[in-house]
Symmetry: C2
Subunit: 410 residues, 2 copies
Amino acid sequence: MKEFFTARTVGEARAGFRPARRTAVEDVGLAEALHRVPAADVRAPAEMPGFARSTVDGYAVRAADTYGASEGLPSYLDLAGSVRMGAAPTAVVSHGTCVAIPTGAALPDGADAVVMVEYTAETMPGTIEVTRPVAPGSGLVRADEDVAAGDGLVRAGRPLRAPQLGLLAAAGVTVVAVYARPRVAIVSTGDEVVPPETTTLAAGQVRDATASALTGLIGDAGGEAVQVGIVPDDRDALQATLCAALAVNDLVVVSAGSSVGARDETAGAVAALGEIWCHGLAVKPGKPTLLAECAATPGASTVPLLGLPGNPLSALVVFRLVGVPLVWRLAGCELPPPEPTVRARLGRDLASATGRLDVVQVAVRDGVAEPLFGPSALLSVLARADGYVVVPEPATGLDGGTEVEVILYR
Amino acid sequence: MKEFFTARTVGEARAGFRPARRTAVEDVGLAEALHRVPAADVRAPAEMPGFARSTVDGYAVRAADTYGASEGLPSYLDLAGSVRMGAAPTAVVSHGTCVAIPTGAALPDGADAVVMVEYTAETMPGTIEVTRPVAPGSGLVRADEDVAAGDGLVRAGRPLRAPQLGLLAAAGVTVVAVYARPRVAIVSTGDEVVPPETTTLAAGQVRDATASALTGLIGDAGGEAVQVGIVPDDRDALQATLCAALAVNDLVVVSAGSSVGARDETAGAVAALGEIWCHGLAVKPGKPTLLAECAATPGASTVPLLGLPGNPLSALVVFRLVGVPLVWRLAGCELPPPEPTVRARLGRDLASATGRLDVVQVAVRDGVAEPLFGPSALLSVLARADGYVVVPEPATGLDGGTEVEVILYR
């Protein structure tokens, strides 16, 4: 049992606990690719749009034929045909002629510009009057102006966003190699914990709140939560459950019991399965957090394990801080997508201890972030909180009225 | 065909185009409830935790027995037993006795406080020395301190967040009545548009980028996208497709063709199926937007229809502005969850016209938001943009260096 009592700051944990494990790579279609993490850069197979294209409704021309044109002295061009949307042009533009073209259509051969219809008039059938000069290249995009062949479309390790799915579709890339969703086992422990479905509680019993809330956070982080169930405070039973979970998951999360004794049992079971990297995180709430690399059998590839405090609110705080980045990292993403935030003035003073990160739940109204206090065991804070404020390690607190960033629940 | 040419601002469209349609209400389990919208307030069926509970490891006592206790003159109490986690207490606290209790266990009868183990010592087996006085109620939470029976747990119309799933689980509420995911049909139009799977493009053809990007945005907004396919620029064909889509969906989105003629065809087909509320939105890019209430058959319940510009980037801008709130509204949510944002200094001046909302794609580096320009037809902007900046209707532009809020893609 190594480094059993090593306590760390949240910053140290994020920078230092970096499991090497990654999920397998799998191919998915664009309809399933939202927020998934590409395993490799994707490059454009060909230039785009692939043909010179008009960006206006008007007439394809030789720019030189319009030089000097004005309202008073228009250029007159013979209409040599028209281009249909989606079809290769059949007409050709030669000196003194033009071809009608809609926005988005392919530029006919011979043309080097498109005059907007607003600056033209068909004064006689077949004759187009142009009242403004255009420069070569105006009113169109080049065949490779959007994307050149081989240009990067999306980058490995960056979760795919909706607009990028459009870009991939436009390039004809309809299948993307992405990291599989990390499978995250949730092991609930505690003699007092019963399933949420329990209709009537006996004195001393509590329903498992943590597993349901973690399932949501894991889903938001692109993972697949697997609720393993509730294990009593018994080291052998816990060790057997952890062992089974380690064999088939990418991350194992244990909500350790609330009492000191139950937490010691958890730490003992974890220590028997691997190496504890940190036991004790300098965060309030959340101090009893445990980080380890474990293996189902000696020599098997290691799986990160996160031991959370028994109190549900504390467990959620810690999972947001260190669990969510871990889930993204297992899927090949070092920089998780941004969370929604809002700036607000703090409703009152917040005390904090140097060297410890404090996470304070707040309700936001009219630009004021009002801290929600009460015994840490209270779940109802979660119903009223719009988000939380972080008081960083070096600070000794924040004064009421200070502008703070609230990380919003979504 | 009423109000065919009514142009609106984005603010007017959001405030004034308010379809009455809502999706059906369905019951879902907590594992499927993340970001779903409750159709009714959910109240606590019973008080929580449901029993007076210790919040520390220590000894349950009668507070009066500890008054005056100090290091120099401790109170001595007889140990009358212990409480097990998850079990109803069997021991009782009477005058001069105490009961060992772990964090989270039920307070035994007769006790009114819990002394932390740190302020006690078992000097002789069966005798506990208390070195600090405690007040009644300290070291515990009351049976209804977290939630009273009938208290609101979550509110109708507010998408469920991960922490709230934990609160519901704790209360034993494992099934929630929520609005069904809105079904959103995506109709792509244009003679030039071909499916993304098309390997080789003929001159003039473009792959359908908009449908894939919209599918992502619709998913983010809690909707279920249904890609209906690509319809050529033919009013009858489009009208038939729209009619079929209106019959089985909660919202129909049409990416109108790029050319003026194609857009007129779309407006004509829509006008035949219902009432056009606005044609022309004062936004750049995105002016040719169309909003309507249509019905598959005369007298059938109306379905909102959103006609988007043919250019994919413009289509996405408009869908974020007016489509996303519509999808949430169909699911009973008036106030969509917050988007991630970041403050940054504008990298250069942005011009804008009064009365028009401008949406400018930006890349954010080191606190600077650099506008990404180029012909609006360019999709590659989407690969480089981290988000966008909105220049509101009254403004005539923004100076470089101004602090702006960037709405980030996630």
